[in-house]
Each structure stands twice: as structure tokens, then as C-alpha cells.
């Protein structure tokens, strides 16, 4: 006699099979040309923004050099990594503009025109800082999110707008983790520029950015079907949750951290976690860090800053990437666990570029603010 689960499965299949018909559906023809036009418009706008950013960066650097004003003391609306020490591994174009064009450094958008990843940059006279404005962060992280009270459909859906301060926080944390901005890349980037600035009465509840940590800014090995991945990739998420959204997840992760961010289970790995390291901050917030111990796949590190309001900013970083084994080969997954069948970990990163301390430092930057 079939067990309960099997009977339930059979019943459900029967239910869905019964409606497996195209009869009586409203007529609809998907608009390929429309999609193409809209996509092209996104691309053109991105190119224009990239050009403007490049120009602004050149002007800014020149002005800074002449006026010897030192570091940019801005309002955290820009992510500005250290100058001149552009890593050879970063995908900074070697053009005369020298400032990084976000779109140009992403293989996805202009693969045929991008400079070879990992190519050395010019050692010319001017080495502008690679700069990414917050509206371009969607090139590097795949964002989802939620808001309420306004136009607010989430994610990359049309009509979605993003909190300017929230994105500034994501950018600041990223800069702390990846000072050259040369490693984190999105597999499926958001259309950029991200529409920043909420409409009147709208409230950002959650921003969740997921990116892959690449050795040198080149994500293309991940996109090639393979049975045996050889390039070590990591998986990084930076999220910011408002006090409302922070109450959503059950706090049954390590150190009382909610076990899910944006509906994704982060801690589905059976492992022991290091003792919680708690660091009070001067503004009353607290940073808690922990990392997985004795994890065969690699390392998993979590750092969360909780503000007195209950808002949280959290980093999760894994030094390995889990792949799903499908019929055509392995494809990148967004889960940490390899316990389920058909999930395998790729090669782990030889040298893990973050620690509990470095992630805590990234979260402790003055520009890191909780969502209201």
C-alpha cells in the first residue's frame, strides 16, 4: 500500500495533470521585439551612465590631485576603493579614461568588447580610482527586495525603486569586503542604473544582494557547462533589513541570527559554528560574527550588525560555490548545502580573503546604516 506521501503526490499530480491544457486560455503573443527594444534601451542607458561615471571619476580625481584634498569625504553615495593599487586581477579597463566603467568590466554586458579579464592595467601617469556609483551596484550583485507604501513591487520588477541610503550601505559594506571592487560579480545582473530614491510614503523593507566572489572579476568560467569546475568561486550576500523585515525570520540560525534572508535558507548546513563574537558599537548597535567549523566544503562566515531599532545589515560569505548537477552539467546554485543529492561543492578558494574580523570591520564603517 502506498504511503501517505506517495498518495498525496499522486493526488497532486492528478490535479495538475487535469488542467494541463491550453484550452480557453486568453490569446497572447509574447512580444520578442518589445523585449528586445526594452533590453536595448536598458543597455544604452547603462552605457551612458557608465560614460558619465567615468567622466565624473576623471574630473574628481584630477580635482582631488590638484587641490590635494585627500580622500573623498562624501556622503557614502559612492563606493571608492583605494587608488593606484588596482589589482592586476581586477577587470579595470586599460583605456585612457582609466576609471572603471562598471558595464565594461562585466563580461555579461559587453563580452565582445571587454578587455581580457585579468589583463594588466596601464601603468600610466593617471590611475583613477575605479568608482561605482550606487545605481550601478546592480551590475555586481543580483538584487531582490521589498518595499511597502508606494509603487513598490520588489526585485527587479518594473516600478521597483530602491532606498538611496540602503544601497549606499550595501556599497559601503562591499567596499569594505572588496576594496578593489575586483571580485564580486553577478551572474544575472540587474538592469542598471538602479532606480534610486523611494517615492513619497514608500518604505524599503529589505534589500538582498547576492554576488559570486571571483578570483579576478571573471565570471565566465561559471557560465560554461562543465562537469568538473576548476575555478574556485565564493558566494557572498549583503542584505539590509528594516526593523519590520528583521522580525520575519525565526532566530534559529547561529547566534540567534534569523535563519532566512529573503526566503532563502542560509544555514542549511549541518555544521558547528564558532562561539558568537559580539562587538558593541558606539552608536548602540552590535556586530555579531561567527563561522562554520570543520566544514569540508570550505568556510562559511556570517557577520550581522543589529541596530537599536532592530534593523540589521548582514554579510554571509562562503569560500566555495555549490553546484546543482542537472542533465546538462553543473550549474551554480544559491544554496550553501551539499547534503542533498545532485548538489556538489566546487573547488574552494585557496586563500579566503575575509575573516570574522574583516567582515566586522566592513560592517562597522560609519556609512553603514540600518533601514528605517
Amino acid at each position: 500500500m502506498p504511503d501517505l506521501d506517495t498518495r498525496e503526490d499522486d493526488w497532486a499530480r492528478g490535479v495538475f495533470d487535469r488542467v494541463r491544457t491550453g484550452q480557453d486560455e486568453p490569446r497572447w503573443i509574447p512580444d520578442a521585439e518589445g523585449a528586445s527594444r526594452l533590453s536595448t534601451r536598458h543597455r544604452q542607458r547603462r552605457t551612458r551612465v557608465a560614460g558619465a561615471v567615468t567622466m565624473a571619476a576623471v574630473i574628481g580625481v584630477s580635482a582631488t590631485a590638484y587641490a590635494t584634498l585627500g580622500r573623498n569625504g562624501g556622503d557614502n553615495r559612492q563606493v571608492t576603493p583605494p587608488a593606484a593599487t588596482t589589482s592586476p586581477s581586477s577587470s579595470v579597463p586599460s583605456s585612457s579614461a582609466s576609471a572603471t566603467s562598471p558595464s565594461a568590466s562585466t563580461p555579461s554586458t559587453t563580452p565582445s568588447t571587454s578587455p581580457p579579464t585579468g589583463s594588466p592595467t596601464t601603468t600610466g601617469t593617471t590611475t583613477a580610482k575605479p568608482t561605482v556609483d550606487d545605481a550601478s551596484l546592480g551590475e555586481y550583485f543580483q538584487f531582490t527586495g521589498g518595499s511597502m507604501g508606494g509603487s513598490g513591487f520588489g526585485g527587479a520588477s518594473k516600478g521597483m525603486r530602491w532606498s538611496t541610503d540602503g544601497m549606499a550601505t550595501i556599497g559601503t559594506v562591499w567596499q569594505g569586503m572588496d576594496p578593489t571592487l575586483g571580485h564580486v560579480r553577478a551572474l544575472i545582473a540587474n538592469p542598471v542604473p538602479l532606480p534610486l530614491g523611494l517615492s513619497s510614503g514608500e518604505r524599503q523593507l529589505e534589500i538582498y544582494g547576492a554576488g559570486y566572489w571571483t578570483p579576478n572579476g571573471d565570471i565566465t568560467p561559471m557560465t560554461r557547462p562543465t562537469q568538473h569546475p576548476t575555478t574556485p568561486f565564493g558566494y557572498v550576500t549583503i542584505s539590509s533589513t528594516s526593523p519590520i523585515a528583521s522580525n520575519d525570520g525565526k532566530p534559529n540560525g547561529p547566534c540567534g541570527i534569523p535563519d532566512q534572508v529573503f526566503g532563502r535558507s542560509l544555514f542549511g548546513i549541518p555544521t558547528a559554528w564558532s562561539p558568537c563574537d559580539t562587538r558593541p558599537q558606539s552608536d548602540g548597535s552590535v556586530i555579531v560574527t561567527t563561522h562554520a567549523q570543520n566544514l569540508a566544503e570550505g568556510t562559511s562566515t556570517i557577520a550581522v550588525r543589529e541596530f537599536p531599532s532592530g534593523a540589521k545589515v548582514m554579510i554571509t560569505a562562503a569560500s566555495y560555490l555549490v553546484y546543482y548537477r542537472g542533465p546538462g552539467g553543473l550549474s551554480p546554485s544559491v544554496t550553501w548545502t551539499t547534503q542533498a543529492p545532485d548538489y556538489v561543492a566546487g573547488p574552494k578558494m585557496d586563500s579566503v580573503p575575509w575573516t570574522d574580523d574583516s567582515l566586522a570591520a566592513a560592517l562597522s564603517a560609519p556609512g553603514v546604516k540600518g533601514l528605517p
Binding site: D5, E8, D9, W11, A12, R13, V15, F16, R18, V19, T21, Q23, W28, P30, D31, A32, E33, G34, A35, S36, L38, S39, T40, H42, S108, S112, G145, G146, S147, M148, G149, G152, F153, G154, G155, A156, S157, I188, P191, L205, T223, P225, G263, R264, S265, G268, Y324, G326, P327, G328, G329, S331, S333, V334, T335, Q339, A340, P341, D342, Y343
Partner: protein, 170 residues
């Protein structure tokens, strides 16, 4: 993007559009929103066509993108509105579902969105527990429990319909 790319893309849209819309409809219960979701998926796919087209797991990409688009819209609504468990009846008087699919969709709309998504992926898209977990980014156990809860919620909603006849109907 050159002509061959465009032709390839148009072929994809023609081949996948209807099936994707059907899946989207089961998830969201609204043909217009389903069309918007699918169109949005195609914009996104086109934007990254050069990279994505090389993937063998292309169908999984389509499903993942669609699912996230759906979840995004659903999540924002959920934030603003009452939790799904307590949703009032959605049909206005006089607009009773008139075919099997509408009956099922009306019932699906009354269960929480993630459970609904799991049911659609498992039993409509015929994905395995592991494939569903991969797509949703959660553990297989979570998929099983969500599916179990979803079915438990769905059965009483379909009671007395062709899907779940009552004893008197048998």
C-alpha cells in the same frame, strides 16, 4: 545584438512564451500579471542573452527568473496586505470559476505564495524535490515540508470539486 542573435531570441520567445505564461498564471492567478511577468523575464534574458544562451541549464534559468519575478511581486503585496493564510475570498459574486483550471487557480491563490510556488514547481513543472530546492535556494527538507503544508491546505479548498469529490458526489 546581431540578427542571428535576435532570430534565436525570437525563437526562444515563441517556443517558451506560452508555457511560461501558464506557469506564471498558476503562480499568480492573473493572466495579465502572468504576461507581465513573462515579458519581464524575456527582457532580462535578452539583456544577458550572450551569456545565458550558452548554458545547458537554460530552462532552469527561465524558471528561476520567473519565480523570482513572481516572488518579488508577491512579496511586496504580502508586505502591504494581510498574510496569505487569512486572505478573503478573491472572487467577486457572480464570477465563480468556470473550468477546472480556474477552480485550481482560485484554490491556489488562497494558499501562501511560497507553498503555492513549491506546488507549481513540483507538480506542474514536474521538478524533483532537489531541483525545486535548487531553484528556490532552500533545503530539500524545506521543499518537502512546504509541499506537504501546501497540499494539506489545498485539499479542503478543492473539496466538492472535480479534484476532490465529496462522498456524496462519488
Amino acid at each position: 545584438m546581431d540578427r542571428s542573435y535576435e532570430a534565436e531570441f525570437a525563437e526562444l520567445v515563441a517556443a517558451k512564451g506560452a508555457a511560461l505564461r501558464r506557469t506564471a498564471y498558476l503562480m499568480c492567478g492573473d493572466w495579465h500579471l502572468a504576461e507581465d511577468l513573462v515579458q519581464g523575464v524575456f527582457v532580462k534574458i535578452h539583456l544577458h542573452w550572450r551569456r545565458i544562451r550558452r548554458q545547458d541549464s537554460f530552462d532552469a534559468y527561465l524558471r528561476t527568473t520567473l519565480f523570482h519575478a513572481y516572488l518579488d511581486t508577491r512579496r511586496a503585496k504580502w508586505r502591504r496586505e494581510t498574510p496569505a493564510e487569512y486572505l478573503p475570498d478573491l472572487e467577486a459574486p457572480g464570477t465563480e470559476p468556470n473550468d477546472d483550471r480556474d477552480v485550481l487557480v482560485a484554490a491556489l491563490r488562497r494558499i501562501p505564495p511560497r507553498q503555492r510556488a513549491v506546488l507549481v514547481l513540483r507538480y506542474w513543472e514536474d521538478l524533483s524535490v532537489e531541483e525545486t530546492a535548487g531553484l528556490l535556494g532552500c533545503a530539500a527538507g524545506t521543499v518537502k515540508s512546504q509541499a506537504s503544508k501546501g497540499l494539506a491546505a489545498l485539499r479542503p479548498l478543492l473539496a466538492g470539486t472535480v479534484f476532490e469529490p465529496t462522498n456524496a458526489d462519488c
